[in-house]
Symmetry: C2
Subunit: 119 residues, 2 copies
């Protein structure tokens, strides 16, 4: 890695190959957008709390609402967002809809985040 020391920001570095090199490793715009959208979903404490509840047990909407002490509509709206991001799935069971975690990426991502803030 014999890149000479960074010297900014005169002609040496400005408009340099570095900029184009770095951009060649950039994922395409769609993927960047999707990635940001995914993290946006984690970026709300209500949704995080819903996920933590579902770590422990699958649960219907009204009990989620009770557990989080929020009204049912707010929970439903947030579940919709989590479902669109494929972080949770819901199946109807009689009158209720039971929600559960979609896969284990959810845990990993949250655990990594938790590790980071506990550094």
């Amino acid at each position: 890695m014999a890149m000479h020391d960074v010297e900014c920001c005169d002609e040496v570095c400005h408009h340099s190959d570095l900029v184009t090199k770095v951009n060649s490793h950039m994922p395409d715009e769609d993927e960047l957008y999707d990635l940001a959208e995914l993290f946006k979903v984690f970026g709300d404490s209500t949704r995080i709390r819903i996920l933590y509840v579902l770590f422990e047990s699958q649960m219907c909407v009204c009990d989620l609402a009770e557990a989080l002490n929020m009204n049912q509509s707010a929970i439903s709206h947030q579940l919709k967002i989590l479902k669109q991001a494929k972080l949770v799935t819901g199946r109807r069971e009689g009158k209720s809809v039971i929600y559960s975690l979609a896969d284990d990426h959810v845990r990993t991502i949250i655990d990594q985040g938790r590790e980071h803030i506990e550094e």
Copy 2:
């Protein structure tokens, strides 16, 4: 794990021990807030792009602006947010400030996100 099948949402489940059990595993409010704040930082494609650039090379602000084709002020504002979240660090070097990744959690979190959306 002999929990009886979920039966929602009459008295059987509503107000049940499940709700309190689940809440006993909930991190405290401050941690939930911090976690959401952290993911919020990842939830913007400009900041994601900055991080991708820094995966490849440390870089000064004006070159980041050039690489992302955005004005310097926008980049500075976003770098401030990334720095507050301890995802990047900046060191002054002459007239410039060179930014680089703070640690490897950043990569792990982004990689996990990428894995999820590519399922």
